[in-house]
Amino acid sequence: MNRKNDAALDALAETAHDSAFDELVDRSHAHRSAPTPDADAETDGEDRAETRPSGGLAVLRKGVAVMPEIREGIRVSLAFAGAVAAGKLLIPVAIQQVLDRGVLHRGGFRATFVITACALSAVGVLVLMVLSRITYLRLVRAAEGALFSLRVRVFEHIHRLSVAEQNETKRGILVSRVTSDIETLARFVNWGAISWVVNTALVTGTLIVMAIYSWQLTLITIVAFLPVIPILRFLQRRQLVAYDKVRVRTGDMLGEFSETITGAAAVRAYGLENRARDRLHHRIQDLYLAHREAGRYFALMFPVGDMFGSLALAAVVAVSAFSGVQLGLDLGTVIAFAFLMNLLLFPIAEISEIIDQTQTAIAGWRKVLDVLDIPIDVADDPKGSSLPAGPLAICADHVDFSYRTGGPVLIDVSIEIAAGTNVAIVGETGSGKTTFASLLCRLADPTGGSIAVGGTDLRAVSGPSRRSAIRLIPQDGFLFDTTIRENVRVGRLDATDRDIEHAFVQLGLDDWLARMPHGLDTQVGERGDGLSVGERQLIALARAHIAHPGLLILDEATSAVDPETERALTTALLRVAAAATTVSIAHRLSTAEAADVVVVFDAGRIVEHGTHDELVALGGVYASLHQSWVGATRSQT
C-alpha cells in the first residue's frame, strides 16, 4: 500500500505546490514578496504576474552569466533567423521580378531573364536551406550544452545544501527543478526561442520588403492588421485561463483516480463503490466541460487571424484597383504583396501565442537559477584535518540550533562523551534528539556553540575524513534501487567484493544474508521497498561498518521490526559498538537499558544523563518514561 501511495504521489508530483520552497528562497533573498497561499492555479498565475519586463531581463542576464553557452547560442540563432526569413522572402520578390520584368515587360516575354531569375531563386532557396540547417544544428548544440551544464550545476548545488534545509515537500520541488523545470526550458529553447527570432526576423523583413515596394500599401496592410493583435492577445489570455482550468481539473481527476486506487481495499471493505463511482464520473465530466470551454477559444483563434489577413488583402486589392497607377504600382508588385501578407499572418499569430509561454519559461528559469542562490551553509574546509582511527570522543559545548524557519530546537546543550562509550538518547518526539544526532555528523552546523569529535571541532575536519569516520544510520535506511552488494559498496567506494562479504560475516549477518533470495545480488527495489525496515537497517549497518567508523549514530526504527531481524540487528550493533563510539536514538527499552550512558532530551535541552539505573533511581523524566514503557510492554503480567 505504501508503495502504491508513493507512486501515486510521484504521478501527481507534477502539480506539486511550490510555495514551501519559494518561502525558503524568500528567506534567503528578500527580493520577492510573500508567497500567496498555494493552489495550483494561483501559483501559476503568480508566476506570470511576477514576470515583469525588468524581471525577465534580470533573469536573462543572470542566466547568461550562469550559462555562457547562451551567448554563443544567441548569435547563432540570429544568423539562423536571418537565413530562414531570407528563404521565405525570396519567393514574393522572385514572383514580382519575373512577372514585371520577364513576362509583362513592355518589350514582351524575356525567356533568358525568366530562366536566369528562376534558376537564381532556386539556388538561393537551396543555399539558404543548407545555411539554416547548419545554424540550426549549431543552435541545438549550444542550447543543449547550456541546459546540460545548468542541470548538473543545480543538481550539484542541491546536494551541497545542508540536509537540514530539506524535507519531504521541499525535496519534491527540488526534484522538479532539475527535471520538469529544465524540461520546460528545453522545450522552450527548441521551439519558443527559435520561434521568437525567426518570426521577429520574418515580420521585420517582410515589412521592409513591403515598404521598399510601396509604403502606401504597407501602411494599409499594417492598419488592416493592427486590430488582430489585441484580439488575438485577448483570446489567448482567455484560452490560457481555460487551459489552466483543464490542467487543474486533470489533476483533480487523477487525484480522484489515485484515491480510489490506493483506497481500493477500503472502498471494498466498506462497500463504497457507488460513492467512488459517482465522484469519479463527476470529475471526468468536469474535465470534459473544461476541455470544451478551452476548445472554443482554440477554435476561434486561427480563423480570426485569417479573417484579418483577408481583410488586408481585400484592402490592398481595392486600393490598387482604384489608384494603383497613381501610386506608381505595377501588377507584379501587387501580387508580391498578396504573397508577402501571407508571410505576416502566421508569425504574428505565433508570436502572440509564445509571449505567454515565454513568461512561463522565464519564470521556470528564474526558479532554477534561484536554487543556485541558496547559500551552502555547511561548507567543507578543504584544508581540514583528519580524524584519528578508532573510537572517537564527543564534546558538545553550549550548542544551540534553530532551523531557518521556526523557533529554537536545541538550547544550550553541553555534554562530554568518552571514546568507546555506548550512548542512548531518549526523549519525546520534537525534543531535539534527532537534531542533535544530525549535528554530530554535521548535516548542519550549530547556530551557537560547537561540537568537537575526536578532539577536533567538526567544522575543522575535512569532508572525506568526517564521512568515513562518522556514520549515520537513518531510521528508514535509504537504499538505492540496485543489489545489496552495491548498496553496501557505496559505504566505501573502493571496497572489494571480499570486503563486502567480510563485513556481513564480521557483523554476524551471514546467516541472515543466506536467507535472501540471491544473497548479495538480491535486488532491494525502489528506495529499498522490497525489504522490511529492519532489513534495510541491517544493510545500512553493513554499509556503515565497511568504512570502520569511529563514531556510529543510529536512529532506531520506530515501527515494529520482526523479532528475528531485531535479534540480528542487536547482534550486529554490538559488534560494531566494540570498535566505535555509538550513539543510538533509542525507541526500544532494551537499547536504553543496555547503554553505558543514557542522555535524556526534553524540549531542546539535556535534562538528565547517567546510567539507566542511576536515572531510574533519580525519579525524573527518564524514570517516568521508563515507567510508561514498562507499563506498555509488560502490563498485567
Binding site: 540550426y136 544544428l137 490506493t262 479573417m307 527499552l589
Partner: protein, 619 residues
C-alpha cells in the same frame, strides 16, 4: 478465485516501443470506434473540414480571377469599373468568412469528439477499477493504473482530433489537383511531382525521428529517476559523502539525453529546412513554367497566381498530414492495452440476498486454503471458530498468512478451497449492503479520504452525528478530533490537515465502529497507537459494543487483553488457547512474547504526549 493479472508491461506504458503490425488497419479500427461513439459531432467536424477545403481552393481561384479581372485591367489602360472591384473585394471576404466558419466548426467538433471519447474511456476505466477483484489492485502499481487513465487515454484518442483535418486535407488536395488541371495540365504536372515527394519526405522524416524521439523520452525518464532517487536519499548521499558519485551518475544520464536531443536536432535540421524549401522550389517551378505558358498565350497571369497560391496553401497542411500516421502506432498500442485492461474479469456478482441478524456473529472457517496466482499457498488448511462476542488475537511471524485470512473472513476474497461462514452466511457472496452491516476490516495502512472528518467516518452510511461521536469515543479519537481547527468538519488529506499515523488508524477504526459490524477484524490496525490507548479501545469494544472481534496483534498488551490467542505459522494454525495456556504449553509463543517485549511503542501518536509524560514548551 479469478486471476486478474493484466498483461501489461510496466516499461511500455504510453511508449510506442512496440510498434504493432498492420498499424494502419488497426489504427482505422480504433478511429472507427470513437467515430461510432459520437457520430454527430464527428460528422459536423467533417462537414466543417470540407467547407474549409472548398473555401480555400475557392480563395485561390478568386485571387487568380482578381488578378485577371481587376488588377490586370487597372494597370493596363483598359480600366475597371468600381462595381466590379467591389464585387470581387466582397467575394474575397465572403470566401474568407466561409473558410473561418469551416475551421471553427471543424476544430470545435473534432475536439468535442475527442473529449467525449476520452470521458467515455475514463468512465469505463473507473467502473472497471471498481469492479475488478481486489487482487487486481494488489498486482498492479498505482502509477501504472493512473497511466491507464491518463497517458493511455490521451494516446488512444489523440488520433481522433486530426482526423477531420486530414479528411479535409484529402479533399483539399483533390480539389487543388482538379483546379490545377483546369488551369493548365502542364502546371498540374509540377504539383503531381511535388505533392507525393513532400508526403514521402515527411513520412520518412517521421519514421527516422521516431526512434531517437522515443529514446529522448526514455532518457528524460532516466534523468528524473536519478534525481528522484538521489534527493530522496539525500541523507544517505550526504552522510556517505556520495555527492560526487551522484553528480557523475546524473551527468552521465544528462549527457546521454543531451546527445540524443542533438540527434533529434540533427534530423530536424536536415528535414525541416528541406520541407520548407520544397514548396518554394515548386512555386519557382510554377513561375518558370507559368511564365512560358503565359508567353505562349495559353494561360493568363491570374492562372499562374492561382497555382502559386495553391502551393502556398498546401505547403503547411502537407506537414500536418504526417501527424495522423505518426500518432497511429501510439494510439493502437494504447487502445489495445486499454482493451486488455478492460477485458480483465470483474469480481463475481454477489448472489446471496440474506439479511444477517443484528447480533454478534459466530465465525466458522473450515479447511480454508488460499494461494495467489503466483507463489506458494498462503493458507494451507485453516480451521477456526470464534464464538459470538469473543475477542481473539491472531499472532505469528510476518508472511504467515494473517492478513490473507483477515481478508477472506470479511469476504474480500474467496477461499480456493474450504468454507467460511459468518452468522452462517458466506461473506464473499453477500450483497454489498449486507456485508457492510455484518463485517468490517480495518487495515494497518489506514486510508484517509481527502474529505472531512465526518465524511471519513460516516462515508457511505446515512448515520447521524450521535453515531459518529460514539464511534470516535470508542476509537479514542474524540480528543484529537475536538482539537482540530474545525472539529468534525475539518478537511483531511492532501489539501487539509495531515494526521499522524496513530490518529489515522484511530479514524479508520472509528469508520469501522460507526457501522456497528457484528464481526470486526483489526489487521494490525492499532500498530501506531499507544498500547494504553489500544487497551482502552479494546475494553470499549468489549464493554459498550460487544462485537465479535479478531485482532492481529504484535504486542504483549494486545494478546493479554484478548479472550483467546491463535498462533499461525506458514499458513496453518499451530496453537490455540488463552494467554495463560499458551504460556504454559507453547515455547514458541513464549519466545515470541519476549521478542515483543524488546520493542517499545512508537512515538508516532499524540495521545502519548498528551496523556503520559507531562511536557512544557512543546515546539
Amino acid at each position: 478465485m479469478t486471476a486478474a493479472v493484466p498483461d501489461v508491461d510496466p516499461e511500455s506504458v504510453a511508449e510506442p516501443d512496440e510498434v504493432p503490425r498492420h498499424v494502419i488497419r488497426r489504427g482505422l479500427r480504433v478511429l472507427w470506434r470513437f467515430v461510432k461513439l459520437n457520430p454527430l459531432p464527428f460528422s459536423i467536424a467533417i462537414v466543417g473540414a470540407i467547407i474549409y477545403a472548398g473555401a480555400s481552393v475557392l480563395g485561390t481561384l478568386v485571387l487568380g480571377r482578381v488578378t485577371d479581372k481587376v488588377l490586370t485591367p487597372s494597370f493596363n489602360s483598359t480600366g475597371v469599373s468600381h462595381a466590379t472591384t467591389w464585387n470581387w473585394v466582397a467575394l474575397i471576404m465572403i470566401v474568407a468568412f466561409m473558410r473561418g466558419i469551416g475551421t471553427i466548426t471543424r476544430r470545435y467538433f473534432a475536439g468535442k469528439t475527442t473529449w467525449l471519447g476520452q470521458a467515455w474511456l475514463r468512465r469505463s476505466i473507473a467502473d472497471h477499477f471498481l469492479a475488478v477483484p481486489l487482487e487486481f489492485h494488489r498486482s498492479v502499481s498505482t502509477g501504472q493504473l493512473l497511466a491507464h487513465a491518463d497517458a493511455d487515454v490521451l494516446a488512444a484518442t489523440e488520433v481522433v482530433n486530426p482526423l477531420p483535418f486530414s479528411t479535409g486535407l484529402l479533399v483539399l488536395i483533390i480539389f487543388s489537383v482538379i483546379a490545377l488541371v483546369a488551369v493548365d495540365p502542364i502546371l498540374a504536372l509540377v504539383g503531381v511531382v511535388l505533392f507525393p515527394t513532400m508526403a514521402l519526405l515527411n513520412r520518412y522524416y517521421t519514421r527516422r525521428v521516431e526512434r531517437p524521439a522515443a529514446a529522448v523520452q526514455a532518457h528524460v525518464g532516466d534523468v528524473s529517476g536519478i534525481a528522484h532517487e538521489s534527493f530522496d536519499g539525500a541523507l544517505a548521499v550526504k552522510s556517505l559523502g556520495l555527492e560526487d558519485h551522484e553528480i557523475t551518475r546524473l551527468s552521465v544520464a544528462a549527457d546521454a539525453l543531451r546527445l540524443e536531443r542533438i540527434e533529434v536536432g540533427r534530423l530536424r535540421a536536415f528535414f525541416e529546412p528541406a520541407l520548407d524549401a520544397l514548396p518554394n522550389l515548386g512555386i519557382i517551378a510554377i513561375l518558370a513554367v507559368g511564365s512560358w505558358r503565359i508567353s505562349e498565350g495559353v494561360i493568363s497571369p491570374g492562372d499562374v497566381v492561382q497555382a502559386m497560391a495553391l502551393f502556398t496553401l498546401l505547403a503547411f497542411p502537407m506537414r500536418v498530414v504526417g501527424f495522423l500516421l505518426e500518432e497511429m502506432p501510439r494510439a493502437v498500442v494504447s487502445t489495445e492495452r486499454l482493451d486488455r485492461l478492460l477485458a480483465a474479469p470483474h469480481a463475481d456478482a454477489p448472489a446471496d440476498h440474506a439479511t444477517p441478524p443484528a447480533t454478534p456473529a459466530d465465525v466458522v472457517a473450515r479447511d480454508v486454503h488460499f494461494s495467489y496466482p503466483i507463489g506458494d499457498p498462503v493458507l494451507a488448511g485453516i480451521d477456526l471458530t470464534i464464538a459470538p462476542g469473543e475477542i481473539v488475537a491472531l499472532v505469528g511471524p510476518t508472511g504467515c498468512g494473517k492478513s490473507t485470512l483477515c481478508e477472506l473472513l470479511v469476504g474480500l476474497d474467496a477461499p480456493d478451497q474450504g468454507t467460511i461462514r459468518v452468522h452462517g452466511l458466506v461473506p464473499d457472496r453477500l450483497q454489498r449492503e449486507a456485508r457492510r452491516d455484518l463485517l468490517a476490516l480495518v487495515f494497518q495502512e489506514s486510508f484517509v479520504f481527502a474529505d472531512t472528518v465526518r465524511e471519513n467516518v460516516l462515508v457511505g452510511t446515512d448515520h447521524g452525528d450521535d453515531r459518529l461521536e460514539a464511534a470516535l469515543r470508542v476509537a479514542q479519537a474524540e480528543r484529537f478530533v475536538s482539537h482540530l481547527p474545525e472539529g468534525l468538519d475539518t478537511m483531511l488529506g492532501e489539501r487539509g490537515v495531515t494526521l499522524s499515523g496513530g490518529q489515522r488508524q484511530r479514524l479508520a477504526l472509528a469508520r469501522a465502529i460507526a457501522r456497528r459490524p457484528q464481526f470486526l477484524v483489526l489487521d494490525d490496525a492499532t500498530s501506531a497507537v499507544d498500547p494504553r490507548v489500544e487497551a482502552r479501545i479494546l475494553n470499549a469494544l468489549r464493554g459498550e459494543l460487544r462485537m465479535t472481534t479478531l485482532v492481529v496483534a504484535h504486542r504483549r498488551s494486545t494478546v493479554e487483553l484478548s479472550d483467546r490467542i491463535v498462533r499461525m505459522d506458514q499458513g496453518r494454525i499451530v496453537a490455540n488457547g488463552t494467554h495463560a495456556e499458551l504460556l504454559a504449553t507453547d515455547p514458541e509463543y513464549v519466545a515470541m512474547l519476549s521478542a515483543y517485549d524488546s520493542v517499545a511503542p512508537s512515538a508516532d501518536d499524540d495521545e502519548v504526549a498528551v496523556d503520559s509524560v507531562p511536557r512544557v514548551g512543546s515546539t
